[in-house]
Symmetry: C2
Subunit: 404 residues, 2 copies
């Protein structure tokens, strides 16, 4: 009998309890071990809840109980969650978490503590929600030199972009609808400004390199500047628009990491990732392109990923689980040095200048769009593009990278 404690009885926490108890017999049959939830830590009481008697308010009850070998940290935040995770690991209890903020901020230290105390710090649920992603990356692609990871990592923004594309609607309208439906938070900054996607691409970059990528150094652009006109131009040129987290080994072996909206070819597998779904493409030097798709958020998908880590911790006891990174900071390749094709949305009066600046480019027009047109630059260095556009800020209304 494996006794587990769940820290936080919110949405994901109640999901973890539901998965462990709801699929209990099935899990036992598969792994020949019985897993049950012994404690649920929460400050609140839950009178009438079927698991009411498991609620505790003092984390020390959990930390001091030698029966508890695995702790699920699904509280969120980097305060108490950090303290409790650290304490649990120091006592040799494995910690499984969905807390991407904590993993991105303190994962390096927590992984080190886990190693020193012969237990595991696991975070499958922190990226891509229910999508098996981290385990395939570190276990199945363990023989691969990973060349790039390109992912739709945020469901809220993907829902908004998909709806804008289908309905020709403006962002403000769709965002408001998404908030009313509960797909976007009232304070949607972390999502729409790309910070959530940034944390996730950093975690994946850490796993990819074995070192630490500081999210503060990752250029991050959200979707707030995307308009119905950008979609109109993109569609005519054969693209849709998706917010992508990108981590790529550039010429010379340096890593570039950034978050930005991209034009994605309509027949690209990532263009088929719609609504609240996430899709992450991982490219290895032997296997080529692979892609992982599923619900990137939500109570049960996220809980399922947390429980998969619990099972991994239980089954792997005494052996090594690959994956992790050290504290050496990765020196990133500057975004200005990366090359891309771009779609510019500019005043028609500027097209002559654009053709001079980017002679390999081509013009995109949309019927009914009177004042503006699109200009496909061809492949240019980001820094050169910025310099070229410097004098025309008022006439340039959109700058979008194209996924190669």
């Amino acid at each position: 009998m494996i006794s587990v404690a769940v820290l936080g009885y919110g949405t994901v926490g109640s999901g973890v309890v539901e998965v462990i108890e709801g699929n209990n017999a099935l899990i036992a049959q598969r792994i020949h071990k019985n897993i049950h939830v012994k404690y649920i830590l929460d400050l609140r009481d839950f009178p009438g809840d079927p698991f009411e008697e498991k609620i505790v308010h003092d984390v020390n009850i959990i930390l001091d109980d030698p029966e508890i070998s695995v702790v699920c940290e699904v509280m969120g935040g980097v305060g108490a969650a950090y303290q409790f995770s650290k304490s649990a690991l120091e006592r040799g209890k494995s910690v499984c978490t969905s807390n991407k903020e904590l993993v991105a901020a303190h994962g390096t230290e927590l992984l080190q503590i886990a190693k020193e105390h012969g237990c595991y710090y696991l975070f499958e649920a922190s990226v891509g929600g229910g999508i098996p992603l981290i385990r395939p990356l570190v276990r199945s692609l363990a023989a691969e030199k990973i060349e790039s990871i390109v992912g739709i990592l945020n469901g809220t923004t993907n829902y908004i972009l998909t709806k804008m594309d289908r309905e020709g609607a403006q962002l403000e309208t769709v965002l408001k609808e998404a908030q009313e439906l509960g797909y976007a938070e009232r304070n949607p900054e972390a999502d729409v400004q790309g910070h959530d996607a940034c944390r996730k691409i950093c975690i994946l970059s850490n796993l990819m390199t074995g070192h630490f990528v500081d999210s503060a150094e990752v250029p991050t652009e959200g979707i707030m500047n995307i308009s119905a006109e950008d979609f109109a131009l993109a569609n005519v040129a054969g693209y849709t628009i998706r917010l992508l987290g990108v981590s790529r080994v550039e010429e010379g072996g340096r890593l570039s990491v950034y978050v930005a909206p991209h034009l994605v070819p309509q027949d690209h597998i990532l263009a088929g990732v719609s609504d609240v779904f996430n899709g992450i493409m991982v490219t290895g030097n032997m296997v080529g392109d692979t892609m992982y798709y599923g619900k990137g958020a939500g109570k049960l998908p996220t809980a399922s990923a947390v429980v998969s880590d619990v099972i991994d911790a239980v089954l792997s006891e005494g052996s090594e689980i690959p994956g992790g990174w050290d504290s050496e900071k990765v020196e990133l390749w500057p975004l200005s040095e990366t090359k891309s094709n771009f779609l510019l949305r500019v005043d028609k009066s500027l097209l002559g200048e654009m053709e001079k600046a980017f002679p390999d480019g081509s013009i995109i027009t949309v019927s009914g769009m009177e004042q503006q047109a699109g200009y496909l630059t061809g492949c240019v260095k980001t820094g050169d593009l910025e310099q070229a556009l410097d004098g025309w800020k008022e006439n340039v209304h959109g700058v979008l990278r194209i996924l190669a």
Copy 2:
């Protein structure tokens, strides 16, 4: 130092050696163990080959060497491959294989032998080539009740169908081209008649149920009857056509397993799986839909999957790797009892009869198609459909299931 033997120095075998030796330093850095190839078993000599001195002709050299803890069986076939795998497992050497034929036919016994001798029989490469699929299924979705697996499991037929769709071409033309390009074999029966996909969906069904699904009992329909006219009708109705292996828990808990070409909605994530790629959708009761995409065949992708199993065997030593099945045979739900929507391609003279037989249906016409039309039946039981069509065989030219 972990010493590995490779059985068979063909395409996949040379790929395995290339992955282990080419990514050697990287693997060592990740798993803190050095893996090298000590022997390569082949009947042929390879004068001038960089690994010439590792070639042996007698399997007993490998079996008798206590240094060899893992064997990669990439010979193919169910004769010597079966004998050698069995002998290796009986001596406690783990076997990692890409041999789907052997896994489908003798996996039950080989898994049992591995268990009895404290080693592993692993076969990530047997389904979906380089796509991490089996490990996510048994490890990451270990807490899930799997409700269905629906997959594009054969790259050759997917290449043919994609090309037919894009070019409006007939199957014979595309198949001939594919053979010339080496994408299809000279004897393409195993692919185009669906037998290859059948073996793979059986392996996945075994893992899904924990019991044995006999491929001989799985209704298997290939793509030889698909025509340019079927694509024309499908496109008008908003679909493409893909060959799918399907394994689904039906009402009452019985499992239906079959292989057949399906209409797939153009905005479905599986419709984006084109050319030689494979894509497998796994649906769990907690996580919902997840999908795995990548190259389903080819030297290096397949080899990469074999080596990922080698790494798993090395790291998991002494602990349990989940996944496997026993010899209890799964009693399949008869295909005649399964319900689907269908697209029929019929002589226009039959449309009146179709409307009587399937009053919830609707007619699809394609301009330029004079004699025939499409009829969407609505949801019907397969057995009822077959009965209804029984009298009109000569007027019914195509019967295609629609992916729900």
